[in-house]
Amino acid sequence: MRLFLTLLARNRLAVFGAAVLAFVVLVVLLAPLLPLADPDVTSTGDRFLRPLGGGPLLGTDHLGRDLLSRLVWGTRLSLAVGVAAAVLAGSIGAAIGVVAGYFGGSIDNVVMRGVDMLMAFPYILLALAIVAALGPGLMNALIAVAAVNVPFFARNIRGITVGIAHKEFVDAARLAGMGHGRILISEIVPNVLPVVVVAMSTTIGWMILETAGLSFLGLGSQPPQADLGSMLGEARAALITAPHTSVVPGVMILLIVMSINLLGDGVRDALDPRLRSGALSRPMAATLVDRAGVPEPKGAGLLSIEDLRTEFRVGPRRYKAVGGVSLSLAPGECVGLIGESGSGKSVTALSVMGLVASPPGVITGGAVRLEGEDLIGAPYGRLRSLRGDRVAYIFQDPLATLHPLYRVGDQLAEAIRVHHPVSRAEAGARAVKLLADVRIPNAEARARAFPHELSGGMRQRVGIAMALANEPEIIIADEPTTALDVTVQAQILSLLDDLRRKRGLAILFITHDFGVVGQLCDRVAVMYAGRIVEEGRTQEVLSAPAHPYTKRLIACVPELGGGRRRLEAIPGLPPAVDALPAGCAFAPRCAKADAACRAGEIALAGTGRKLRCLKPEVIA
């Protein structure tokens, strides 16, 4: 709740809306206590008195009634009707949406087609028809406005409910013996309620406008009762001679609707989970850099990452996702970066080309040198010309990285044309050749396919083809086979291996799978809590791990052919990266740790085979 309020308070317009609205609501709530004249007492002798003219504060209308008093009482009525209509429409619409979305199938079909029919009528026509059938009057106008808005809520909430009804916890509730009614009330409704409330808060303004419209036409509140719409309607005849009678209610409508909409938008944004993570705006084109100094170049390799530090700044907290990683990549070499989730392996990879989302990500130290040129803090234009051209990425989920609305061949051609001034036809021909290079059968036809028409393995091949499009020297592959089946994974791994041997590609391969590293990589670096704890030639590290973490992690992984057995587990959990312990981050889970391990910084020592440990495993 406090988080919600601080997020809301950051939005100045929402705060302004809230202040105006609070003032208006306070005044109208206190209306019976305020020293106001009776709003309905006429005095034809005092008609059309000007505001601030010595008489009533805001003047009088065509029957000599006190405008200020009518305004306050009218606003009170309009607000009440608007809120009531929103609550009515929201509850009925949400109920329809929840039922249609939960049951699905033919119930959904029938209900939603009915809702569609309601939506097909222009709303004012529908409202007029309802009022015509029920007769004029404020209550009937309220019903009409609510009825017209039911489809909006029903469609909105149905969409949300469909997503929730297929969540596993709903299945779990059924297995726990709950019936449909109970599931709807205790599992579905609490999860859609926030959406309903936000939708209501953003539509109250709209409801007030619509009710005012009906009253303006004489179908809402009946004389002498005042609401904002009827005040405008009555003032219409004197628009030229006594403009103040129209301006006063008009300004009030403007104030109310604007303040409600500003506040409603603010509430919606503050409840958006993406904003909760601290990212108030869209991520920037390149990661923010805030580093004190630049480390001296060590002059090794094609790509050299030197003491890289990346953190996420969320409010007062600093999550040190990458805490000083150094790694180098030679031409044609494949280096594995292995670690559990949250170990910082992906953030390391994304930091290389400044792809970590900012905010909240910030690179706070170190350098990434591509043939000696520091990429951290390089201008965006320079980064952009290198991205995809010399350093390309392959991501885990190709369905998320390919654009769903463009044919894969066109997407490949676009990637080529960004960096090379070639004709559309030539780029298309190259795209087909690339697809054939990644062993997609019938490449010509597949180039015209949309991403959803391809299987997971084929999509990942397209992802690889896109990475190869501009013949980069380095490919950074972030868990490219994790989402794939084993037989497809084997195909993709052997494809990557062939490509790197034929084209002399350097690959930084990020994974959590020792088997994959063992088959593909020349060297491997093991990460834990944002740091490399061990690095060396793959065969040496896997056959004789020196760091206790590496050793125990390898022991955790069952290997095919081992038969039925009990697995070695590492007790406890990795530390949170916003509260790293002093000394070795693995010490709390390590059986060999002593006071020295917990005391202070432990350096990554050694050349070739590197290790960050005071009590390494004995290598026989």
């Binding site: 033919s106 079909n109 969540k167 596993e168 916890f169 299945d171 779990a172 509730a173 059924r174 297995l175 726990a176 013996g177 709950m178 019936g179 205790s186 599992e187 609490p190 999860n191 559990e340 989730s341 062993r439 059968p441 299987s455 997971g456 393995g457 084929m458 089946d485 084993v486 037989t487 497809v488 994974q489 084997a490 195909q491 791994l493 052997s494 291996d497 959590h512 799978d513 020792f514 088997g515 063992g518 088959q519 593909l520 896997l542 992690l553 955790c556 992984v557 069952p558 290997e559 095919l560 052919g561 081992g562 038969g563 039925r564 009990r566 697995l567 587990a569 590492i570 007790p571 959990l573």
Partner: protein, 317 residues
């Protein structure tokens, strides 16, 4: 030896492109008639790649999906009507994604209360005692009970998911990829917990996974699913060590193993489920396929001992 779970010709067909009225445009056979038998106290591992029908099979076994045909027997009692509450007391489900299987707006205690109230009608005091007992089994601290699911790590959330399944006091647990979403160090903790619980509570497991090594490590018997049908079944130590069906061999050879060179991965993919080929579904990728395979579907037959395969040309031992 009594059978805990038995299915007889269990099958599921989904209609595709069904209009509001009238027959569907096509049928997809997600699970072809499947006969399985799991003895009391054993673990049957089910492996297969995505789209092979393993989750559909699991959802039928717990009553979340009505089968198109076939029978399910649990401890000798037939349970054919898809009523999750009737199934719930005998057979429970542990979901793949530990976080999305817990309602974000309920505390752990509220989540665990539901099966105790709905399936066993327990009073407040009895529930508190039972929850404390179950929490102790899954080694979670009692203060977690009043927290919300988002406060837990994946491994802890999966323990809560297991606790909820155990709260129904079932005889059988269906474990649908229970460790796929977890890191390896946590995966081993959860697998060991499951093995302890099974011994302590005399449970029977159906362990579904795409990870061959994990299935091999926890199962007594393994059934390999391909394109909606069991293609091979046998004792865990034999199925991958000495596969008889060419698809099982392909799976075993594809698993990444340290020290084994890359390569030898056959190209090819699953057939189109809307337009399945006649004969064996694997024939298009199979190095041993003959004319017979492309014409006639093989049936699951005993090859040797208790190893079964659905293949016209099984790999010789």
């Amino acid at each position: 030896m009594t059978l805990a779970l038995k299915t007889d010709g269990l099958a599921k067909t989904f209609p595709v492109g069904k209009p509001l009225f009238g027959p569907p445009k096509a049928l997809v056979h997600a699970v072809r008639p499947t006969t399985l038998a799991v003895p009391q106290g054993e673990t049957l591992g089910i492996v297969g790649e995505s789209g092979c029908g393993k989750s559909t099979l699991a959802r039928m076994l717990v009553g979340l999906l009505p089968p198109t045909s076939g029978r399910i027997e649990i401890e000798g009692r037939a349970l054919d009507r898809a009523d999750p509450a009737a199934f719930g007391r005998l057979i429970q489900y542990v979901f793949q994604d530990p976080v999305s299987s817990l309602n974000p707006r309920k505390t752990v205690r509220q989540i665990l209360d539901v099966p105790l109230i709905r399936l066993h009608g327990m009073g407040k005091a009895a529930r508190a005692a039972r929850i404390a007992e179950i929490f102790d089994w899954v080694s979670l601290r009692p203060e977690f009970l009043d927290r919300y699911p988002h406060e837990f790590s994946g491994g802890q959330a999966q323990r809560i998911g297991i606790a909820r399944a155990l709260a129904a006091s079932p005889r059988i647990l269906i474990l649908d990829e229970p460790v796929s979403a977890l890191d390896v160090s946590v995966q081993a903790q959860v697998l060991n917990l499951l093995s302890d619980l099974k011994a302590e509570l005399d449970l029977t497991y159906l362990f579904i996974s795409h990870d061959l090594a994990v299935v091999e490590a926890v199962s007594d018997r393994i059934a390999v699913l391909y394109f909606g049908a069991v293609v091979e079944s046998g004792p865990a130590e034999k199925v991958f060590a000495a596969p008889r069906h060419p698809y099982t061999r392909l799976l075993a050879d594809s698993a990444p193993v340290v020290g084994r060179p890359l390569g030898g991965a056959a190209e090819g993919e699953l057939p189109d489920p809307l337009n399945p080929p006649p004969g064996c579904a694997f024939a298009g990728r199979c190095p041993r396929a003959t004319e017979l395979c492309r014409r006639e579907s093989p049936v699951l037959e005993r090859i040797e001992g208790d190893q079964f395969a659905a293949c016209h040309n099984p790999i010789p031992a």
